[in-house]
Amino acid sequence: MGDQLIFTYIVDGDDFTRAGEASSSVKNKLKMLGVDSDVIRKVAIAMYEGEINMVIHADGGTITVSVSDDDITMVLSDSGPGIPDIEKAMQEGYSTAKEEVRSLGFGAGMGLPNMKRFTDEMNIDTVIGQGTTITMKVYL
């Protein structure tokens, strides 16, 4: 491990219009670092999905992104309700989002599956009633 850069973002709950600000900021930083555009794309999509999930289900949370020589690690932590059935939540199209959220075009049940698809490692740590921490890695 050489140098490491860490960026922390606070994601506000209940504000759809602002979801995506954190992933956008990370995207621009990665471009300035000269990271391959395919890697940037994966990080941006996975992080955006995570951000949206935090807004929909957990009233916001915190995202920490660390960039090292080997990978980009995103840790998304919230104090939301937790995920009761991870296996089910990982199925494409499965969603517990409220109807009002779905009518906005979100909550299509692709969030977690996309996060997994666009990252090289993903780990979900969840406790019902306490919150969820998702760690994702994209290799450089």
Binding site: D3, A22, S24, M32, L33, G34, S37
Partner: protein
């Protein structure tokens, strides 16, 4: 007129600074969408590789110190035979224009030997685009490549979207190719004896003509401004239609290209997006990059508000011009031009790839960039976060980047500078105190000196530095 570099300069731009007019204010740096301008030593300075030629600084400079670069109309004397390529936006400058031939005939009277409408070639581009999109449906959405500033923006900021650019020549390029081929056939002259002169709504086509993207060399010899040609045509415009040579050969699609949404309209597709204005298109590109926009086959982007009618070399208000265009084409057929009738167009597609230019990358290697970004973060944290522009950079973050790149120093920030002076003043006060203790007797000068230093220290301390603990999402 600036001398052009004969070598292909990939970062050439068509806005220059009129230094005598520049007051060193911060209007341009705050409005530049790619943060390409700095003010140093009281004068603005454009960083070539960041500039995308959008012309926003030309619009916003209150002192008219940003000058678009283009050719004078006298260039028509440099050739044995000249063909004018009027952009359809030219037509929209005139009131009550009922017939495009009035403008085209006036161009001949002005001294051009022939005219070829860019709008005619636009219809060929529309035809090729329809076919290309149909053949490559799976790779959609495609992004229009007619606006040079859009290509330049994507080239430096959106590497993942380069492959989405429609690899088709811009209408003016196709027009230039046809015009030269026809003029050669008609006159027997050599290609270099024929001048193909574009009458342009914007200066970004000047850079394009000298240093095109997507093709090796442009067929456009010179670019003159609509605002220069507009008044000169007025005395030649005859509204008696019986005296007009029938020259116009374009329909609704071609002429409609001058308006935002016109190019998309020419595709006869329904699921498109047409955005205009550089700030709006930046947003669209961000969202396209993040795959937040679904179900689109085509994305039309114009750097100027309203489309080409909003170019900086036009005379008429962009929105009035939009309406005039619509009125002009109301009774025209949809399209009058077809590729099969234009054998002069050998290849309507790009011959070159557009390459990503990572001009915003901090270092030469990832490792170096990582170290530099860490320095940028630390520096940014020292600045007040006001983005006041007094240092000459548009934001505190950009100043930090400039410092890390070696182009600025922390003391360019007036708040850092003031804090540093306050520090110095405190130290002098301390020193003065020590001197007073060791000195014997009354020295009125020393007392006065001490009181000055005390006042300076107090005053500097009372300014303070703006609080950085303001609400920030990013820490």
């Amino acid at each position: 007129m600036e001398k052009y570099n004969p070598e292909k300069n990939k970062f050439m731009r068509s806005v220059r600074l009129k230094e005598s007019a520049c007051q060193g204010c911060i209007n341009c740096i705050k409005h530049c969408p790619t943060q390409a301008i700095r003010v140093h030593n009281g004068k603005a300075h454009i960083i070539d590789k960041f500039c995308i030629d959008c012309g926003r600084c030309i619009r916003y400079c209150p002192h008219h110190a940003k000058i678009p670069v283009y050719d004078p109309l006298s260039v028509i004397n440099n050739f044995k035979y000249t063909v004018a390529l009027p952009a359809p936006t030219l037509y929209a400058q005139y009131n009550n224009l009922t017939n495009v031939d009035i403008v085209l005939n006036a161009l001949l009277k002005l001294g051009f030997d022939d005219v070829y409408e860019v709008s005619a070639a636009a219809e060929l581009v529309s035809e090729a685009s329809r076919q290309y999109i149909k053949d490559h449906e799976a790779e959609a959405p495609f992004i229009s490549s007619a606006c040079p500033s859009v290509i330049r923006l994507i080239r430096v900021k959106f590497p993942s979207l380069i492959s989405r650019l429609l690899p088709i020549k811009a209408p003016v390029e196709v027009a230039a190719e046809i015009a030269r081929a026809r003029a050669m056939k008609k006159t027997g002259l050599k290609p270099e004896e024929i001048g193909i002169i574009f009458i342009s709504p914007c200066p970004s086509k000047v850079s394009y003509a000298k240093s095109p993207l997507g093709i090796e060399k442009s067929n456009i010899d010179n670019v003159v401004a609509i605002k220069d040609v507009y008044p000169l045509l007025l005395p030649h415009m005859k509204h008696d239609e019986s005296q007009l040579k029938p020259l116009s050969h374009s329909g609704r699609i071609g002429i409609g290209w001058s308006n935002a949404g016109g190019e998309a309209g020419g595709l006869l597709a329904e699921n498109y997006l047409a955005a205009d204005g550089i700030v709006n298109i930046l947003r669209v590109l961000e969202e396209l990059e993040d795959e937040k926009l679904h179900g689109l086959t085509f994305v039309e982007l114009n750097a100027c508000n309203g489309g080409c009618v909003g170019g900086t070399l036009t005379v008429e208000n962009a929105y009035i011009a939009t309406t005039k265009t619509k009125r002009l084409v109301k009774y025209q057929p949809v399209s009058k031009n077809h590729l099969e009738d234009n054998p002069e167009v050998e290849n309507i597609f790009w011959a070159d790839n557009v390459e990503y230019e990572p001009v915003f990358r901090l270092g030469n290697t990832f490792k170096e960039s990582l170290k530099m970004m860490s320095d940028v973060e630390n520096l940014t944290a020292r600045f007040p976060g006001l983005d006041c522009g007094s240092c000459g950079a548009p934001t505190c973050q950009t100043l930090a980047e400039d410092i890390v790149r070696g182009d600025a120093t922390p003391n360019d920030c007036i708040y850092v500078l003031r804090a540093n002076i306050a520090d110095l003043s405190r130290k002098i006060e301390e020193l003065a105190g020590k001197r007073r203790q060791s000195a014997d007797g009354d020295d009125p000068d020393a007392e006065l000196f001490d009181s000055y230093i005390r006042t300076l220290t107090e005053e500097l301390a009372s300014f303070g530095v703006p609080d950085r603990s303001r609400q920030r999402r990013e820490k």
